[in-house]
Each structure stands twice: as C-alpha cells, then as structure tokens.
Subunit: 148 residues, 2 copies
Amino acid sequence: MTHSPSPPELRLENQICFAVYSAAHAFAQAYRPWLEPMGLTYPQYLVMLLLWERDGRSVNELAQPLQLDSGTLTPLLKRMEKAGFLTRSRDEKDERVTRIHLTDFGQSLMEQARRIPVAMLCQSGMDLNRLTELREQVQDLGKSLRQA
Amino acid sequence: MTHSPSPPELRLENQICFAVYSAAHAFAQAYRPWLEPMGLTYPQYLVMLLLWERDGRSVNELAQPLQLDSGTLTPLLKRMEKAGFLTRSRDEKDERVTRIHLTDFGQSLMEQARRIPVAMLCQSGMDLNRLTELREQVQDLGKSLRQA
DNA sequence: TGACAATATATTGTGCACAACTTAATTGTT
DNA sequence: AACAATTAAGTTGTGCACAATATATTGTCA
C-alpha cells in the first residue's frame, strides 16, 4: 500500500498562516539595512515607535500594544538600556512598576527613523491605499485569532 | 524646548509590518491547541506539511520553500528526529546532502492534521474566498520585500 | 491590623531565527 | 590527476518569544 497524497488544504503554499509568517520575516529582513546603522533590531524599533509617541511608559504600557509579556520585554529593555537608548527606573508612586524613559540619544534617533516609512512603502511594491487596506485586513485577522 | 511629537507614519498602529508581525504570532498561538497534542511546534508543523506532500526531501528542499537556512533547520530537524517524527540520513549518491524521511508515526499524524485547516478557517473570522485573496496579497508583499 | 488576593516585573528554560563561520563532499578546469 | 571553486550541512553566538515560575509591592477585607 502507498501513502495517501497530502490534500490541497495541507499544502504549505495554501496556508495563509505561512504567508503571514513568511512576510513577517521578510519585513524584519527588509528593515535591517535601515535599523542596523542605528544599532536597533526590529523588535527594538517597535519599542522605540511607542516611546517616541509617548515617553515614560511602564513595561506593561509597552507590553500591551506589542502583545508581548515581561519575559520577552525585560531582557530586550535591558539590552536597549545597555546600548544607551533608554533608562529603566522604578516608579516612585508604585514600586512595582518599571518606567522606561528615552535618553537624549534615543530621542534623537527619531529624525533618522522618519525616512524609513517612505522607503518601506517603496519596497512593498504597493501604493499606500492598497497597503492601508491590507493592513486593516491583517489587523482584523490577528484580532479574530487572538480572541478565539 | 519640547520634543517634536511623533508623526503618524511612525505610530505603531499604522505599521503594516507590525500588523503582519503581530498576526504571525497570533497564528502561532492559535495553532498551539491543535499542535501541542501532537507534540509539534508551529515551525515543526510547517516542516511536516512539506514532508506529507513529498517525503525524502533534502534539508535544502525544506529550506527553500520555508525560506530558512540550515542554521535554523538543522537543530529543528534534530529535535524532530529525537521526538520520533522523522529520520535524518546521508544521501548515498551525494554524501553532502541529508535526506529527511517521515517515520510511520510522523506519516500517521497527517490524519489528525487534516482537521486543522477547517478549524483555523473558523477562527479566522473570514470566509474562504476573502482569506484566499488576502493570502495572495500577503504572498505578493513578501515577494516584493524579499527581492528589493 | 493582619492575612490574603491581585498586580507588576523579573527569572528560568526551551525553541526558533539568523549572521558568520566551519567542515566535508562534489564539480569544473586545466 | 590536481586543485580551486562551488555546494550542502553543520556549528557558534546573539537575540527574540513564550510558558512556567518566582519575587516583591500594593490593594482588600474580615
């Protein structure tokens, strides 16, 4: 007897999960040339985006929008502190929380980062409207998966 | 002087890269309840999909469709070998290549896996047509990013 | 007030992901 | 045949990602 051939719904190229997984890695690679000169990794860049928008967040106020836990963030933030992007200090009102503040250096990187979005838009090979629509659909998809 | 506020194109919620990154993690989490009973992680499941479709692949014939390198695959395949899903053996014609073959156990898991795609379709909250179209757009996006 | 639950972060251990490098086998050229 | 170039895997080191657990602070309520 021979093996049953794998059905189409089990083929790698038909998996939306893999398309998303693979695109996520492609993004991280595509960002690399812009982030490496700044000394940032891709997840660290995501943290910087949040801090540029609002500084002095707690670990939780980073964890929630990023959908990450302290097990991931704590060592990441320690590396970023060591690299001089930010400082970690105890909140005076509530000694449980750690507050994250950008250093002047970390703050100053925003100017360089401003050029990245346009560059990535070009590399995406899509126009802004299509990309925005795609983003919304992917956000919806993520939301559905998370709450199920 | 005060800090310049971060421009909209640098906000986390407007990044398509983050939407994709976040959805990828959400997928891995959503697959967990189905994969854990089989003893598979999500990346291991991707390898199984390829082997169910065609057994006896070389490491490279896994690496290419997955867009992974041997630095990732070799230890992953060793773990899968240890767990009894597959075997790793030298190709007799070309002693450089390692051939990966499913064990009977590994082959047999396909029956359980057959139920996964429908379950995930439900969790996605989208119909098949919309999901297929979305997959194609995400695949295109990944392709653009990789070649630029 | 004094136990106890809740909250916030940190720690530990495992498994990806990838750059950079190494090792070994094959191919191509002369 | 000799040997450089190529190819295929494997190794090493760093940085995520997350489950499970630990620690410490704050809130609650009997």
